[in-house]
Symmetry: C2
Subunit: 450 residues, 2 copies
């Protein structure tokens, strides 16, 4: 059954206003650095309302509830882990019947316990074919193919998943370069209509009481539509905002920064902004400076799947004893960084997210076959404490299954360590230092080309 | 450089006799049940001579030093793990140069710490092409293809690997049905010659001081050659015996039992007998009754790779409180066991080790999509304590990487639990009860057809 789209806007807004009072999630800003970079704590969410998440921060990326390769036990040997786990409907939708039969929600189904569950629409690390969106539906792609979602089905899924917060249904198909202004406008309209319908169903649903909704800001690369989308979404009783259609590959960082800077001015200060599909450290830094609070953490997974290890410095400590935290061996990296840089010259856009970036080293490279050092000197993760590059190299070359496990441990630890350093940098006014560290301050490497 | 084969037998034996005094490994038998099943403790091995291993038992199967899918940390959440880790030259040979440069041996290279390292020739879970053995060499197959080993290269590898014990070089190419008597005799002769040469090099090598050597008993399916091989190998200063060419697929269990029963009479009581290539629980039981002490534990890995979970009872406890240890839900299994049984009717031989056996359930089966129970009720492994069959089913159907990790945890725990129960059964005179449990005592299922 489908909720009619004929609901008048006024009645929707009335219903929605009643809901607004029930939003418990709140972003407490500690400071705003250089005009826009926000440091703070997201509070009052989760079923008990007791959970919190520091921003800038990221959500824990999972596929079907699992951080790829890692058991919960292994995962929790890592520090700095976010308190919020992201699952996506594209992984879950095909299991709707089973979840409805199970009744206790996806968190329990997946054996997750003390985590807050955030449910998004698409998997940021998986390609989503375009051309399947209609006025009434969006499609997600699971292992069994396409699943078409009406608002009714979307909301039935949310009731089965029982997340703590979820992204409202959205038409985000605006990331192709030739998307017309008319199509972009339609995506904003549809996404607002979906949001209103979702909120109506949500409000009437006892199962979703206390669950937070994030509205989705669309608008492609058209500033005017971005502003309208932000402004209109902000009028609705949402707990926060997903910024969609700005992902890596959709546009270059300059345009992305301009759009985010402008649209976030239309959003309330005390609600979080989650940017979808951006994970590279350089892009994360630029987007935090534009006013983004939250990211998805799919990047370490992509790095792992190409047999690489995150390897960039985020050490902003003046304490020489802590200098070992993540200092790249500069000379060694130069050649590899150059190579990686060269592969990214596709008109400034890294359209293929499977390509290696300059923030990682390729452990399959022959140079590591007799390199008996840990991935990153001083890194405290299980992999770096127990294994050497040469061993990882050999595991990868012989396709041993542990390679992915060990790389995922390191990459997850390194990435969340970077976010931790980012918050520390904002708190201690060292953002510029952190940027130099992350982007590389060596001759010829100072300016990154993308 | 190659050690000459012209060394006369007498001088070899003289040198060997000098070595015999240095064997520290000793099997202390606690009892011999029903004439041949041996219960005891293997003692006095490892570099310190302080390690021990209960028999009947198995070695920890690894590929390139790792239990597939599992980190050392995850592995050590399991109880009943053997104190001996098996690595194979087929995984390691191509990395000889790196290991020689590394200098500290494979145990340290692979990040293993408190384990005894046993180095075998071939990987029991990988096919080994035939037709490449010469008078002077055997070949192993790594990820980069074939590597031909002379005794000199084989021993150089042992010095680089630095195991605590290793299998001597052997010509085991007798497992095809049409192997001639002449070829079998040649395999016994060559294997004895290889052993003598290995012992000569070993004796002169300081690096290998304190390292134990297992001689290899060959002889195909010819009783006379099996007896000769056993008798001659037993004359050499070896710490124990590998029984080769008797693996699953090479012959049926009746013939295997006859050969093992006969040849073990030629072996000293106080030295262990390691059977290569046999892992199925029913075959393990039959071989223990024929006098085998040690097995390789590749079977749980094979089960994992086909998306299955070990699911058979080895509960011999009369204590109703412990009845939950591993009781199969009888009715549920019948259909699946029947199916599995049917696939094994290839003239009594299960030649394809990738085929499902009746000791496991196939989690990819649709029946598990809404089965919210653990894999095995009462199983204490991480997977069974935290996850349900339905979740495993969905992980497998969507190719999630955690599926292999979780299945490997359960299968490893279940398999080593079975060996633990086997020792308990021998100690408490309950072997017949254990056999009924393992083989299934239900109507029509009492007699297994292989």
């Amino acid at each position: 059954m489908q909720t009619g789209r004929s609901t008048s806007e006024s009645s929707t807004l009335t219903a929605a206003t009643r809901m607004a009072g029930s939003i418990r999630m709140k972003l407490e800003l500690r400071c705003v650095v250089q005009g826009r970079s926000r440091l703070g704590v997201l509070k009052g969410f989760g079923r008990t309302g007791q959970h919190s998440l520091e921003v800038p921060g990221c959500l824990l990326y999972t596929r079907f509830g699992t951080v790829p390769h890692l058991t919960q036990d292994t995962l929790h040997t890592l520090s700095n882990l976010p308190s919020v786990t992201q699952v996506t409907l594209s992984n879950i939708a095909e299991h709707q019947e089973v979840l409805e039969e199970f009744k206790d929600g996806f968190r329990k189904f997946a054996g997750l316990h003390d985590t807050v569950l955030y449910c998004s629409l698409h998997d940021p690390a998986a390609a989503c074919p375009t051309g399947y969106i209609t006025n009434q539906t969006v499609s997600v792609w699971g292992s069994g193919g396409r699943i078409e979602l009406t608002v009714a089905k979307f909301m039935a899924l949310q009731k089965a998943v029982q997340p703590d917060w979820y992204q409202s249904m959205a038409d985000g198909e605006t990331s192709q370069n030739n998307t017309s202004r008319k199509r972009v406008r339609k995506s904003v309209d549809r996404t607002l209509a979906h949001l209103d319908e979702c909120l109506l169903v949500h409000q009437k649903s006892q199962e979703l009481e206390g669950v937070e909704v994030f509205g989705v800001v669309e608008g492609g690369d058209i500033l005017e539509e971005r502003l309208r989308s932000a402004r209109e979404t902000a009028k609705r009783p949402v707990a926060g905002f997903c910024l969609d259609g700005l992902q890596t590959g959709a546009m270059d960082q300059t345009l992305r920064t301009q759009l985010i800077t402008a649209l976030t001015k239309e959003l309330p200060e005390d609600k979080p902004r989650l940017l979808q599909g951006v994970g590279r450290p350089d892009e994360v830094l630029a987007c935090v400076e534009a006013g983004v609070d939250l990211f998805e953490s799919f990047f370490p997974f992509q790095v792992t799947e190409r047999g690489c290890a995150l390897f960039f410095s985020f050490d902003i400590s003046p304490d020489p004893e802590r200098a070992g935290r993540a200092p790249p061996a500069v000379l060694e990296l130069d050649k590899q960084r150059d190579t990686a840089g060269a592969t990214q010259q596709n008109g400034g856009l890294n359209l293929d997210q499977t390509q290696m970036t300059s923030f990682e080293i390729n452990l399959k490279d022959k140079r590591y076959q007799d390199d008996f050092r840990p991935l990153v000197d001083g890194c405290g993760c299980y992999c770096c404490k127990n294994h050497q590059r040469a061993y990882l190299h050999h595991l990868l070359m012989t396709n041993e299954l542990l390679a992915g496990v060990l790389l995922m441990i390191h990459n997850t630890a390194h990435y969340h360590g970077f976010f931790s350093a980012l918050r520390e940098a904002l708190a201690t006014d060292k953002l510029d230092l952190l940027k130099r560290r992350v982007l590389g301050e060596r001759g010829g490497q100072t300016e990154r080309k993308d």
